[in-house]
Subunit: 434 residues, 4 copies
């Protein structure tokens, strides 16, 4: 494409973009964007490239969903490595096997999508747009598995850009701007925040909330964690959520309970922030509040209830009777005193088995367990009727678990887990399993 026709094209697209909000699916615009993206690939100079990148970003954000999907398909198809060039380079490497042909091969196989995305990132709003693009890729990947390769390019780039070293760690409290606070309410994934009053309670003096941010998205938390400062390890979630703020001066807390951790950017799926966040929180609270000696989660066991039913059907366990399983189907069974004693022993034991012994690819089947054990935590105790909310009953049969972050065991636990798949448990849990 010649220079003049290109700058002409930029203008034409800018014009089209302006009339975009109301128009029907605009095939000629999409063709133009494709041409534009092609010209970006060929462009040698930064000035024109960023002008084009700006148009692409604006056009994408103004598109309807079906247009965006066409755009992504175009990326997938047109911005893959040139097969002939790869073939030549591969053959050359097979023949020569030297470092120069290795380099040529490396260049030939690098997906042009990445260079394209780096260009888009240069213009205002570029990073957000790239994250939104990936979000769409992830939503569509079930229907179109071939997007897996496009997704890999997005993930590779975003993982590099959202490297821990570039994130800032910030406390969230009532002094935080409202524009950030409302994101917490939107993205809380474990225990719903029921409006501003509820949020305010979670940010009171006996609570802590921290988040990672990326400098380019100052109003968008990446991930956040909610912590309760308590006397002893909290075993039930409802009091944590509902009790009024405690006067710390009278009866100072000795324990930090991590009771919720939520990712905010679905477009960053697969990039791990959680273990860094927990580590930083432990360091920060230790420095601020030396009296806090214990760090523990209060966690759901989201796969437990499903597993229970399956276990019974498969007769893999003879510990759960048909009657007991029936009881669990009554939504408020925990209100009936007679049921409780019968079930407590059985379910607690089964839960310990589920957490410790039920595996998939040598790792615990339960996702929350997988996360905390992978971080070096250990299973401290299982809490009967720890979460009697509807969701708690449905997913975890009302049980909760404390994963303990014991700073002097974390590294060893982590290595045992990572290398040998060994799971650290307290003596209480051992007893349940024996």
């Amino acid at each position: 494409m010649s220079a003049m026709s290109m700058s002409h094209l930029v203008e034409a697209i800018a014009d089209l973009g302006r009339s975009y909000l109301e128009g029907p699916l605009n095939r000629s615009l999409l063709r133009n964007i494709e041409n534009l993206c092609q010209s970006l690939r060929e462009e040698k100079g930064e000035a024109a490239a960023t002008a084009i990148a700006r148009e692409v970003v604006n056009a994408f954000n103004a598109m309807r969903r079906e247009e965006k999907l066409e755009f992504l398909e175009m990326l997938q198809n047109d911005f893959s490595p040139n097969p002939e060039a790869v073939l030549i380079a591969a053959k050359s490497y097979v023949r020569n096997g030297d470092i120069r042909s290795l380099r040529n091969l490396a260049q030939a196989v690098e997906s042009p999508v990445q260079a394209f995305l780096r260009l888009l990132n240069m213009v205002p709003g570029g990073t957000e747009t790239i994250i939104a693009m990936r979000n769409l890729v992830l939503e569509e990947i079930k229907n179109k598995p071939q997007l897996e390769f496009l997704d890999a390019d997005f993930e590779h780039l975003l993982a590099s850009w959202f490297n821990r070293g570039f994130l800032t760690f910030q406390r969230i409290d009532w002094n935080t701007p409202a524009v950030i606070l409302e994101k917490l309410m939107q993205h809380e994934a474990v225990h719903e925040i029921k409006g501003w009053e509820d949020l305010r309670r979670r940010l009171a003096d006996d609570r802590r909330c921290f988040a990672f941010f990326h400098p380019v998205l100052p109003n968008e938390p990446i991930i956040f964690i909610e912590v309760a400062l308590t006397k002893g390890i909290a075993r039930e979630i409802q009091p944590v959520l509902e009790m009024p703020p405690q006067h710390q001066k009278k009866d100072p807390a000795d324990t930090a309970i991590f009771y919720s951790i939520s990712n905010c950017q679905s477009g960053l799926k697969g990039i791990h922030f959680g273990s860094f966040l927990i580590k930083q929180v432990v360091d920060t609270i230790s420095a601020e509040l030396p009296k806090i000696k214990t760090y523990s989660t209060l966690s759901p066991i989201p796969g437990f209830r499903n597993w229970l039913e399956k276990v019974f059907l498969l007769k893999k366990s003879n510990e759960l009777t048909e009657d007991e399983l029936k009881i669990l189907k009554e939504p408020l069974w925990f209100n009936s005193e007679s049921n409780l004693e019968d079930l407590k022993g059985t379910l607690t034991k089964l839960c310990a088995q589920y957490l410790v012994n039920e595996k998939k690819n040598h790792r615990p089947r339960d996702p929350v367990a997988r996360f905390h054990l992978g971080n070096g935590a250990e299973i401290e105790q299982i809490n009967w009727l720890g979460d009697t909310s509807r969701r708690g009953m449905e997913q975890s049969a009302g049980l909760m678990v404390n994963y303990l972050y014991n700073t002097s065991h974390i590294v060893a636990n982590h290595e045992n887990y990572v290398n040998d798949g060994k799971i650290a448990v307290s003596s209480k849990i051992k007893k349940l399993l024996s």
Copy 2:
């Protein structure tokens, strides 16, 4: 390496690191670091990986130069792609040519150095250390050309991380912290800043100074530019540097003169910031001072004097006499009235030829010309005795040039230059060339 021996090793190295400042070149330490780096490659969990990364960063920073060089060689040797794996993947691609084998090939050829550097970046001081490592690579590359491949990995990663979209643009003035101001004095590459008083004058009300920063290095400017606000286009640098601050209210400036632009991070060589910076400066000054209508550089012609001598030796020009060339060798020839008239016409003409017609790879031979013309500027005029400093006489025979940034021509100039190698010149320059 087993998990236990690894954490043992981390500790051992941490101990060694502490005694590092005074010790002799410590081969066993280097071996340990190598093992550590190997274990990083194999490590699956983040907790241990960052602990190791922290030790590597600390150890590297405590090393002596020769140790650092050994470390880099180790990186070069041990962290290159596995040749056998590449061979298998290349053959598979040649055989199948499908997208899956393409992906496998892409993974096989990606240099493990990049993954390693991304790990180092996670710990405090990581980014600085990586930049320092690359700086060393660049210093050694002349002696050891094979470092070219290691350098390519560094550059690829740093270019992605220091993408324009992640940089912040900041005005530098007398309200700027001293820790940043002293960096300007250190890194000014065009017209030396002779201490705090000189710096202060360059930050006065009739001047502007701007820089790019990266959020992870808040006290380290990446690149900065110095601008003088003047009445008309300034043709000589000494008055710009020396005249006292002008009262803007009485005789408001209509021109912004870019008289110095300097990179501060030699470890980021090859990553282009200059054109983005100039564009942002034009936008910022336009918004602040709508009376500024002209944007121009006042630039040296650093290759001119050398070229003159070569031209004469090669008899490529019959315009310069032997006598004239002799005169140029007297350091203060410009003080002698008799010389001036003889030389002015000849040198100015030759300079225009040099800037416009002397090329290398289809681009102007003069590096400063290459930079500004590549950004879309045009050659406005050549200034006789524009810089009579010692350096100005030695490099540019006292001449300076104004490159004009005419916002309505920049894109077209840029495209003509990039696509066709065409150089935009004013009518004055055209006359000199005819």
Copy 3:
């Protein structure tokens, strides 16, 4: 009081203070505080004085209301000028009439309360405590008119400290910390903010909100104003409060409507911030949005309905019939079409008379009119059914008024008003009055 007994006393009170939260009204503590305050008067050194001041501030904040009232009475009684010293100084001045005896007299009459309050202000939380003290004085002044003199000391000092030159002007929007935003909801005095969603709408892109702050109270707005950016002068408040945010790009606003202004600190009563705030808002919006050409309020007429009834009773007007007055007593009379035409002409005319001709001490009887006319605004138009909320109907009979801030008339309007009591009105209003 000797030095030792004093520091002993400080400690004793600190001890008492700690046990204060639960205790009964503690007369001996009050006595001790009195002694402490006395010793503050006599104290020559700053170190001890601030230690004592700290105790007084803490003790006051821990007191119950009745104790605080006793404390204020003590201030009133014990910290007044010494009558004998004043008498001697007054006599001396009568005799000599020179500047030295004038100074002595000035010193003798200055209330020691002011020196005492300046001391309290030195310690953390001092300013808030002083404002809280004055708030209490104002609440009690109806019951105890003698507090007028104590109040005058508070007001004098606070007016000096909250001088416009010390206030900062800040925009409030969705980026503002929640701790400040909730203060807006608390203190909005004109049109209630019904929760966070309502607040958010008032801070949207087609709205502006600004406040004055004092540096020592960074989370406490002193006064704030809410502005709607509209096309033309808004005549009804309900659409302003309820319509969804307008896309400014499509149909840019040309008018700024000040629809609410609220003081937040009742302890600063009598210190005028409103006119400074409006002036600053006009300057700020003009600079940001040059397309805004008209600045107007949309204001209630809070005294109108009461006046109407009085007028009828006194038969001062023959324009309102008994029937009409009766109609106004039906809460939703404005829903009945038949009523409207009858009333519109009558009430609008009467309202114009009320605003322009009804005076008290040569100033308009209506407080909102007094405020805006005193700032140099003019009465632009009266809006029939401008506010049909319950409060709007009860206070203003549903009418609203636009006071226009015409920057080229403000100074002249202001001076005419201040010096001659003249009220600036538009030709529309003149016609209503004729």
Copy 4:
């Protein structure tokens, strides 16, 4: 003055003001300003008042010194209380003696200068201008003692505005903006800062520097203190100023030495900040560096040398021989070994006497001693040849003194000093005195 003529006058003066920079002493302008100031006194509305105040501030700042002095005289003469009104109020008080007549009297005697200055303070730059006015008053007060009364008004107001509660406490280091750092160099009053390198050393890791600021003057330190962190109490100033930064990790400091404290605003003379600053510094360092256990000054004895000569002349001491006094007149006497032993005992003893026993109004004659002892410090030791700089030799005969701030004695020392004039001394000093 009528309203119209007043706004006319504002404009006229604004015009004059603009032509002010070059003009001769402009008597008619001064007359106009007087009229303006008069009209301010009579003005009831804020809008016009601030417009006038703005003109007065601008006009004053554009005046030449002699004009400013005339302006101040005008303030002194025209803005004093109305003698007749005061007389009537004084007589009424003598007659009635009630609280109402007391208040009337208080109003009659309040100097209108204060209301005038509060008005000036409302406009941008007002506070700086008022401080500059007072500075001028202080410079002139020796020539015109009657300015004492005007000065009292300034001091009263400024003391209220610069109340400790309104000051912010900030650390100064190499991250501080240059515009503030250069103020340190300007205002350092004890040990001259010899340029940016010297300054930088004083802000290194083994030093601390803190200042008070007022929010309205963010770039103007009010007072600052320089602290050296040392091992043991430093006894000589030259090593403190000259030794390179110490690695704190190897040999952590246990002592904070206050070696310089300087006021920056001569217009705030008589308002005490020093004791608050020292208290805050002790608190801040204690929190940051718990290993620092000792807080001490290293101070000059600026009146000692003068006193020595006087003592000898008056034959009040028989301890100093004529020969010894003669020696002190040789500038570099301390280089001569033979002199030293003779003098050391004599001078150290005399110095202890000077510090402890030489009084004026029951307070130590030495101003530095007066300051630190008044803050609750105690005299720890006298250091022979503690300061061999020219100034040190001339003022203090080379001696320095450590005043110790022992936190557990400060309050008692302070009270003993304030109430009984008792001076706290160490046992070493006691021995010298016995």
